[in-house]
Symmetry: C2
Subunit: 201 residues, 2 copies
């Protein structure tokens, strides 16, 4: 099953990712051309597009994995678990994953984060991916509580939770807080979404 062909493709893909991220870091996103990326990865520029749909996409090569984790968590609802219990578990496991995964690749992740926040084109792409993920998460939440939640309510719940966390994290980043502060912000935002805005007085 895992023939030479498959392995080669994986190697090419990784070479493109490595080359792209290194160049984006060194010279900025706009400033690096596809020709440069392709040269460093030793393929033609045309080949780039059989691995990624756009120059932006290469920066989000792993986002699918993280979404899948969240969806799996939603699918793993235990019988007695309430909507908010389950959502808390999704947030927690995502944060855990972020912390654990960052141990070896912290440099990389932080760098990529900064890149995405700096480059408008990447920001737009990130928001679109996040949005599409939320739609999938809403579906998964509805599947976990088919009787208790309507599709619209599921969407409202997912959007409210993630929307709050996202904006809180972004403001935290804008204020140049430490990683710890930002994680605290994320948790506080989740709390606010869970308790409702009325709890703010």
């Amino acid at each position: 099953m895992v023939g030479l062909r498959e392995r080669k493709k994986q190697r090419t893909r990784q070479a493109l990712i490595d080359a792209a991220l290194r160049l984006f870091d060194e010279k900025g996103f706009e400033e690096t051309t596809l020709a440069e990326i392709a040269t460093q990865a030793e393929v033609s520029t045309r080949t780039f597009f059989s691995y990624f749909a756009s120059k932006e996409d290469v920066a989000f090569y792993d986002s699918e994995d993280r979404v899948r984790l969240a969806i799996e968590t939603l699918a793993s609802r235990t019988p007695g678990e309430t909507v908010s219990d389950l959502l808390v578990r999704v947030i927690d496991s995502s944060i855990d994953r972020m912390i654990v995964r960052q141990a070896p690749t912290f440099e990389d992740a932080a760098l990529r984060m900064r890149l995405i926040l700096t480059e408008p084109a990447l920001q737009a792409r990130a928001l679109l991916l996040l949005f599409e993920s939320q739609l999938r998460l809403a579906k998964a939440l509805h599947a976990a509580f088919p009787d208790r939640l309507t599709p619209v309510e599921s969407a409202a719940a997912v959007g409210s939770l993630i929307g709050g966390v996202k904006l809180a994290v972004m403001v935290g980043l804008e204020e140049d807080r430490s990683l710890d502060d930002i994680l605290r912000s994320a948790r506080r935002a989740a709390e606010i979404a869970l308790d409702g805005l009325r709890s703010l007085g």
Copy 2:
């Protein structure tokens, strides 16, 4: 103050908007070229870019106005008003405005909405604009409650409310609901954000 030069610029701007939206409607966004827009508006393609930063931007010519309305509402907090009272007022006035404004330009607005939801490039741009608006709204909310809310809490509140409404509306649109249904979805989502996700059981 309002010299010929100023009037001419406004007319050119409007001509570009009209030409672009008409063409987007007739042939789709990707399919219409800047050359066509410019020709119909009777300017050179280069001139397009002194009015709009990109082909996408022309579809969002009025978004700034709507954000300003919301920010003004936030700034108009009355002494006894709570955080949630004020936020409810923002949602209501935005919905009102949407309904009222759509009376004369309903065709236009609906068409533009469909366009944005269909074209990925426009969706990405819309999400970026919405995100930036939320940051401004969060600042305004913090300004309205400087003692009761931290900047991060303000962001969490705005993100949670708008995030929930946004996703609920999108799911409603995906399910092809009527305008009335979608407004109901929006209100239900706002309610959920206000009461908190725990209220979902």
